[in-house]
Symmetry: C2
Subunit: 432 residues, 2 copies
Amino acid sequence: MLADDCPTWAPEETRQARADLSRLIEPGDLLGQLAVAALGADEAVELIRSGREPTALQQHTVGEAAESAGLMPRQRKLSEALERWRTRLPQIGDTQMLNSLRRQGGGLLIPEDAAWPRQLEDLGPAQPLALWFRLAGGDSDPYREVWGRLPGAGRSVALVGSREMTDYGGHVAWEAARELAGHSVTVISGGAYGIDAAAHRGSVAGAQHGHWPGVAVLAGGVDRLYPAGNDRLLRDLLKQGMVLSEMAPGSAPTRHRFLQRNRLIAALAAAVVVVEARWRSGALSTAHHALDIGRPVGVVPGSVFSVSSAGCHRLLRHTPAQVVTDAADILELVAAATPHPGAEGQDCIETVQDHVTNDDSPSVVDGLDEVARRIYDALPVRRVTTPGRLSAIAGLPMPQIYGGLSRLERRKLVRRTQGGWGRSAPSRGSRS
Amino acid sequence: MLADDCPTWAPEETRQARADLSRLIEPGDLLGQLAVAALGADEAVELIRSGREPTALQQHTVGEAAESAGLMPRQRKLSEALERWRTRLPQIGDTQMLNSLRRQGGGLLIPEDAAWPRQLEDLGPAQPLALWFRLAGGDSDPYREVWGRLPGAGRSVALVGSREMTDYGGHVAWEAARELAGHSVTVISGGAYGIDAAAHRGSVAGAQHGHWPGVAVLAGGVDRLYPAGNDRLLRDLLKQGMVLSEMAPGSAPTRHRFLQRNRLIAALAAAVVVVEARWRSGALSTAHHALDIGRPVGVVPGSVFSVSSAGCHRLLRHTPAQVVTDAADILELVAAATPHPGAEGQDCIETVQDHVTNDDSPSVVDGLDEVARRIYDALPVRRVTTPGRLSAIAGLPMPQIYGGLSRLERRKLVRRTQGGWGRSAPSRGSRS
């Protein structure tokens, strides 16, 4: 298992491949994300660059992953998708870019890194291809530095809201963020004017001791601190926290990318809190993303006469979102969302026990290939787990995990639930 | 069945008996309320006045009703209770009082009247012994007049809140009440300063055409319009609406009576809306009474910095209460609470069908006494109903209904649920 004190980083070729892929494939292009997961980043980028038709095996592998992710037949056409991805080929191949970005205090996190925020796996096939990051430039290596600043799955809160905020909303957001940062909680927001900016300002004020900085997730590239009016604020954030984006440097923040960006904010945080939102506000999409993947959503109530609270009250009336009035309420929300700290360790114990049984007696895994057997052994006996955790436990890269799970699923040895993958209930007589 | 166009009134002796009982037995004295229901008002008041020990039959009847209502043995001691009730004997027996009250535009509603608000039966044994009412004095008979002003079970809303209201709360309460009154909804509140007064003012403003007046439920007697500062407002209310109290004229509003009064507000209304409430506010007790008897509770959100909304947010965080922001939201809440208009008719159809079956074949009711048989026949086949509705369908007074249900329960022919009484599932072979 990978522990905090032994960070490992993926090979530079894979990082370069994903840097290229993040320019070629737009967020929300599920087939692209599945193809990269199924073929691996290196093979995927090679296929796109080659200009060739995919091989029968490639088509089969990607098709299977897409079908198993629930994509409709018309969404699964790899040849059509390749045409789409190849339109941006002239933009890629700058192999010096990652090194120069590193010298400026930035870099690229990829799912093959041990530092990859595993909570993003809750997005399933919508997990981003990569995350570009930017810190304040300094003497130390940004890859070493980013490790300690990434939002932990259990100690982070997204504070989001409308651009057109009131004094009330700004005050609530600033106070809550300051207090949360003081309680060692990472405050995540979108870097926008209004509530986002108030939350970032509060977290900067609360993180004076440098341990629990804030994170801004941008809709465009991390090279342009958008919007321009927040440039100084976002530079302050870079000193102790960071700016993240799934879009490559140079990318413009478009409406589509703002909405896709919201899913990252929801998935990175343990809970999402909407401070102020108009009847139709982007913050509502962040809340709905959070509810979709099982994150608790808190809502700050306000005056029934305030248009800036109308979206908040709408959420409270029509979703399981809960009222929160201060940082204490928000900490309660996060505590309820955080899994029991012993859960991961338990997985390992169960795996070991199971392994002993398998060695001693004829087993359901007889006749499986080595990869599928390792994945099956890594699956907890009663609970479910994510592909990312399986990758860490079985010591196999993600593409092999997806392929192996798919083979195991065909043999009805594993089942997929909303929470992840687990073993099927053993059929009678399958063990002696 | 009793319809709106054929009001019937209980005999004057029974009204006089309940007038006396409402002076002798304090609200919340469950054994008193059960004794009156089990013995009938006339026998109960006679027993108290006589100074005698209860007969063995009386003790048995009351004891059974108390046990079946879930009272603890120490709460069921009739002799002790009689001593308690007899302490106020000097206060009763003014037989001219009801007549003089009637001439001043007041009167007494009792459960034996067809006009009795049946929704109060949802309080179970905590149903009040009687309701004193007061209208603006005029030429017409107050008993004829009160019939059209009583809050209907499905078209009334309680708007409640703190005395220390803000401009915000007052504005929301006034607006909502005015609009609800305009939508033919009776607005019920407690006549107090603050939110109550704002709600009453709004309902007076909205009821300009005289059809959907407001109702104030007081903690003291209806002869004193308390608090004095609301005297003019409450007099305005009397013109088209009314003031109600379970306390006899002359009774002072005590803390205990304020809390008991809150259960009446909750039970009279189809839904309770808390507009503003401090962390510890009497309005919260009204909301909890409502939740206890299955009434929906709406809560107006407000600033998280307002102490006058702290109790509102507390309700939203810890109970199934829902956010409401305006009269439209409140009307939705009422619509969800109002039973399907065909429900009562359905009861009757089922009863008739069932009766035919019973006439043609040997039946579980063979061997039952006439009263129990009539009650059993009146019970719906699949649903549950209230003792009050049974009384109307079976044409039996309430004491006989309680006694009969108790005998049927001993024979396991009926079951009691939170929603009321229904038939037990028939055991195999009980019918040919």
